[in-house]
């Protein structure tokens, strides 16, 4: 087993533990800090998965901007004193049932491999070599080597996904205006 694989497993366990800490802490600030831990370990996992740009963006946007916004609102509303924050037991049963029904089948994915993905995509019964069946993956690696991490992402972002990208800018403008309007005391 390679060192990067071992690091990936350790980071995965750390991400899950931080997620459990996030939902079990009474203090909202502590919950936010646990969530930052999850996001930072996910950023490191993205780097191991050859998505360095996404890892950097994860640290900057998620762990930086969005979580600072959360902490800002928590501290502004002064919510840190303890209150009874957990719901009554029927909802716990509903939560357990949801997890058993939705995530339980997903746990079977732990043995999923690239070869199985390739045979499902191509329809071939035998497990083929993923690099031969799914040419987009090796092509992406080559593009990253040739054009750099940012350049390789910029190419599909500004060609194939140009229209969604522009719509996203309208969404951000609408969200900024909406946030100002909602948070203002009087219009």
């Amino acid at each position: 087993m390679q060192a990067s694989q071992i690091a990936f497993y350790i980071l995965g366990v750390f991400a899950v533990l931080c997620g459990i800490g996030c939902i079990s802490q009474r203090n909202p600030i502590a919950a936010a800090m646990w969530l930052v831990g999850t996001m930072l370990s996910l950023a490191a996992m993205y780097v191991i998965l050859n998505a360095q740009f996404i890892g950097v963006i994860q640290v900057l946007v998620y762990a930086g901007a969005i979580m600072v916004l959360f902490l800002f609102v928590i501290m502004l509303l002064n919510l840190s004193q303890g209150q009874d924050d957990l719901r009554k037991w029927p909802l716990w049963v509903i939560g357990a049932a949801l997890v058993a029904g939705v995530a339980g089948p997903l746990l079977a994915l732990r043995g999923y491999t690239g070869g199985r993905l390739a045979s499902e995509v191509t329809g071939a019964a035998v497990y083929t070599d993923p690099a031969a069946a799914l040419v987009a993956g090796p092509a992406a690696l080559r593009a990253t080597v040739e054009r750099g991490v940012v350049g390789a992402i910029a190419e599909p972002l500004f060609r194939t996904y140009l229209v969604p990208f522009e719509i996203t800018s309208i969404l951000l403008l609408a969200a900024a205006v909406g946030a100002v309007v909602l948070a203002k005391r009087k219009l």
């Binding site: 909202p28 993205y46 509303l77 957990l86 999923y112």
Partner: protein, 98 residues
């Protein structure tokens, strides 16, 4: 080679987020659990992008943008509700008009 483990971690993180949304009453913590679920889906996108090309990473980019917009608007709504009710308890958010 890390496809299976990352899909497994993503499923576990998503279910932790679902449980958090269901059992917590603090609206801000519920929002954080939604962010946790979005992060879990992002991990799936990134792990599959090694086989399906860079489109998956572009999708993660869009998900992060939408999450930022959602956090801004959602926290503004929570602020507005807090001004009316002096609480962010979801038990008290049961009427549409304050």
């Amino acid at each position: 080679m890390l496809l299976g483990p990352s899909l497994l971690i993503s499923a576990i993180l998503f279910s932790i987020g679902v449980v958090g949304v269901v059992i917590r009453r603090n609206a801000i913590v519920v929002f954080m659990c939604i962010e946790l679920m979005l992060n879990a889906v992002n991990l799936t996108f990134v792990s599959l992008s090694r086989y399906h090309g860079l489109s998956g990473q572009v999708m993660v980019f869009f998900v992060m943008t939408v999450a930022a917009a959602e956090a801004a608007v959602g926290l503004a709504i929570i602020l507005a509700v807090f001004r009316h009710r002096q609480s962010v308890d979801l038990k008290h958010m049961n009427i549409l008009r304050g």
